[in-house]
């Protein structure tokens, strides 16, 4: 009993058990899921002139580019879900941010930096307000953010006049600064899209942050046992507000990326993205009950969904059958989570 094992420090320091090989394997199961889907994708990939289309460099770049927005949102969603909450407003906040960037730069002729800062601040404040409603009034986050979704969508419609605002680049009036366009370019020999790099930076920052900060302990504590956290002197209310604010901030960052990728900010952008983001988080092994999970898992979950979408599309699977397959894969991935030794 209580034999002190001097194992190498666990990769995910919190939220996971550390009992031998099986546990270590299971800890990375979302990565395994990703690898499995990846291998399946190679096998089922169509070929052209002997090339496996799926693993061509620019297809892989496309895959990651396509999930970069959902990925950025999902990182923020991971934080929210870790504290036992949920944020249904992220898709709408993305739309609001996309509209905001377009309107500010195109119609109001603001510069790149002030526009981006204002848009990020709007996301942050919107998220923080939702956090306040949850943490201070005590309304369940599902409801707060369901209402937040409608409000953000309404604001986006009003701000944009209901229309998508097209973004043209240049120095003239009603043109966005060309520096903004750079965010949508590709780098490293035209191969890696900047949105992918933004996603990577966000994900790595989040992983490191969760590993080394005291705040992350507080976050896991609030999600794991809120009362214990409060009694231990964790500023529960502040943690919650901060987490929703971070999630709002990342959603609006994703909105900026969305706008630059599509050269437009439309109030209908991001409809339904919240569900994709939640799916990525859960496939990545984070528990909706809070207190358990990791950003690395979420990234793997987002990539898994991206690879799945890509291979289904490359094979031109009928869109209705795609719905069925995706539904089943999500259930399967979630069922895999249940095989964890400690549940």
């Amino acid at each position: 009993m209580t034999d002190v094992q001097d194992k190498a420090v666990a990769a995910t320091p919190v939220g996971q058990s550390s009992a031998g090989v099986a546990a270590t394997l299971f800890r990375f199961q979302s990565v395994f899921g990703l690898i499995a889907v990846f291998i399946a994708a190679i096998i089922f990939s169509p070929r052209k002139n002997g090339d496996i289309l799926f693993i061509s460099a620019d297809n892989l770049a496309n895959v990651v580019r396509a999930v970069s927005e959902i990925g950025i949102i999902a990182v923020g969603m991971t934080f929210v879900i870790l504290i036992g909450g949920i944020d249904l407003s992220v898709g709408a906040v993305l739309g609001l941010a996309a509209v905001g960037s377009a309107v500010l730069m195109v119609e109001n002729d603001w510069g790149f930096l002030p526009s981006v800062v204002l848009v990020l601040a709007i996301g942050l404040v919107f998220g923080a307000l939702q956090g306040i409603a949850t943490a201070m009034i005590g309304i369940q986050s599902f409801i707060v953010t369901l209402a937040g979704l409608q409000i953000a969508r309404g604001l986006a419609r009003i701000w944009s006049g209901g229309q998508g605002v097209a973004i043209a680049y240049g120095d003239g009036p009603n043109e966005a600064p060309t520096s903004f366009a750079l965010l949508g370019e590709r780098t490293f020999g035209g191969l890696v899209p900047i949105p992918v790099i933004i996603f990577a930076v966000v994900a790595i920052a989040a992983v490191v942050f969760l590993r080394i900060s005291a705040f992350s302990r507080h976050l896991y504590a609030v999600g794991g046992n809120e009362k214990a956290a409060r009694l231990s002197g964790v500023p529960v209310v502040r943690v919650k507000i901060a987490v929703f604010a971070i999630c709002g901030l990342l959603a609006s960052l994703a909105g900026i990326v969305h706008a630059v990728q599509l050269n437009q900010g439309s109030p209908n952008d991001g409809i339904g993205y919240e569900l994709d983001a939640i799916a990525a988080v859960v496939i990545g092994g984070t528990s909706l009950a809070g207190g358990r999970g990791s950003v690395a898992g979420t990234v793997a979950g987002a990539l898994l969904l991206g690879v799945l979408n890509n291979i289904l599309a490359l094979n031109n699977i009928d869109s209705n059958i795609q719905l069925l397959i995706k539904g089943l894969v999500i259930v399967a991935a979630a069922a895999l989570q249940r095989l964890r030794p400690t549940s």
Binding site: A66, Q163, H258, G272, A313
Partner: protein
């Protein structure tokens, strides 16, 4: 009515000739649809499928962007990866799809754009209807045929922010100008949906004791409005018009035939025309018109049955 307007493609489009391998070739065509949840767009896909059956060289693939610009960009990228021979796209919105359509076009893939345009001219040809024109036709029809003595009109609009909604409204306002006694007494947004049309009409009926014509931006909302009026027994006191006139059992032509709608205006899906254009490019190695605008047709009790049969030759 108004005839086919057109302007010829000037010069050879990059790569357009390269992909032509004549009648012996086998061609994979990618069709990127904005949102099959709209009956009109599902019918567009169906029309393309039907028309392509008659061209043995063609193998058409379909993708559905589910109303998401970003998803449609990814769909087109995937088609490029698959090295398709021709792209047909019905863009969800113009601006966001422009870049990726250009990318395909620059890679030598001929592109046929349907229904909604993209910006610039990096595509082989556009085939579409004219929403302003349709709105105008509908307006004129109401002003001249349905309400020559004037009357009260309510307008059921499409989803706020959608381009066709704005254009149909704009055309409609122009179309009824000719008869100043026609008054638009109220309008509401039914988000293109039948049940929303019904719910909005419930309230409009309540607020407006005298309504003569309901002008709806599409047929489903017109049907919803009809159901609302019928529920309070006022369906005979007013006439309903829609737009789209899909030749399907749940479409507007049937509704006119069966007397629920007074008229509807075709918004052509262009599926057939798109396949014909693709055949011209790939099999016949010809060129197509850069812009082909198909006229709308007025469907009313006089021609509904005939046109429905025409559009569904196989029953």
């Amino acid at each position: 009515g108004c005839g086919t307007t057109s302007d010829k493609t000037s010069g050879a489009a990059p790569g357009a000739s390269k992909s032509c391998k004549g009648a012996d070739g086998k061609y994979t065509i990618g069709m990127s649809q904005a949102n099959v949840a709209e009956p009109y767009r599902q019918r567009m896909d169906d029309d393309i499928k039907t028309a392509a059956k008659d061209v043995p060289q063609f193998d058409v693939k379909f993708a559905d962007a589910a109303q998401d610009n970003a998803k449609q960009v990814a769909d087109v990228e995937n088609y490029i990866t698959q090295q398709i021979d021709l792209l047909i796209i019905s863009p969800n919105e113009a601006k966001p799809l422009t870049a990726v359509v250009k990318k395909a076009y620059d890679k030598g893939i001929p592109v046929i754009v349907l229904d909604r345009k993209v910006e610039g001219d990096a595509y082989t040809g556009f085939i579409g209807g004219d929403n302003v024109q349709i709105g105008r036709e509908a307006g004129k029809y109401i002003a001249e045929k349905l309400l020559p003595q004037g009357g009260n009109v309510v307008e059921l609009k499409g989803l706020a922010g959608a381009t066709p909604q704005a254009e149909r409204h704009e055309g409609f306002v122009e179309g009824i100008k000719g008869n100043p006694k026609v008054k638009v007494i109220a309008s509401a947004s039914g988000d293109w949906l039948r049940e929303k049309g019904q719910a909005q009409m419930d309230a409009l009926l309540k607020a407006n004791p005298k309504i003569d014509v309901v002008f709806s931006h599409n047929d489903p909302m017109a049907e919803g409005a009809y159901l609302a009026a019928k529920a309070v027994g006022r369906e005979k006191q007013m006439k309903f018009t829609g737009i789209d006139a899909l030749p399907i059992p749940s479409g507007g032509i049937k509704a006119v035939e069966q007397g629920r709608l007074a008229a509807t205006f075709t918004y052509p899906t262009n599926g057939k025309e798109a396949v014909a254009a693709a055949k011209k490019i790939l099999v016949d190695c010809g060129t197509i018109e850069k812009t082909q605008t198909l006229p709308t047709r007025i469907i009313d009790a006089s021609n509904a049955a005939k046109i429905y049969a025409e559009e569904n030759p196989n029953g």
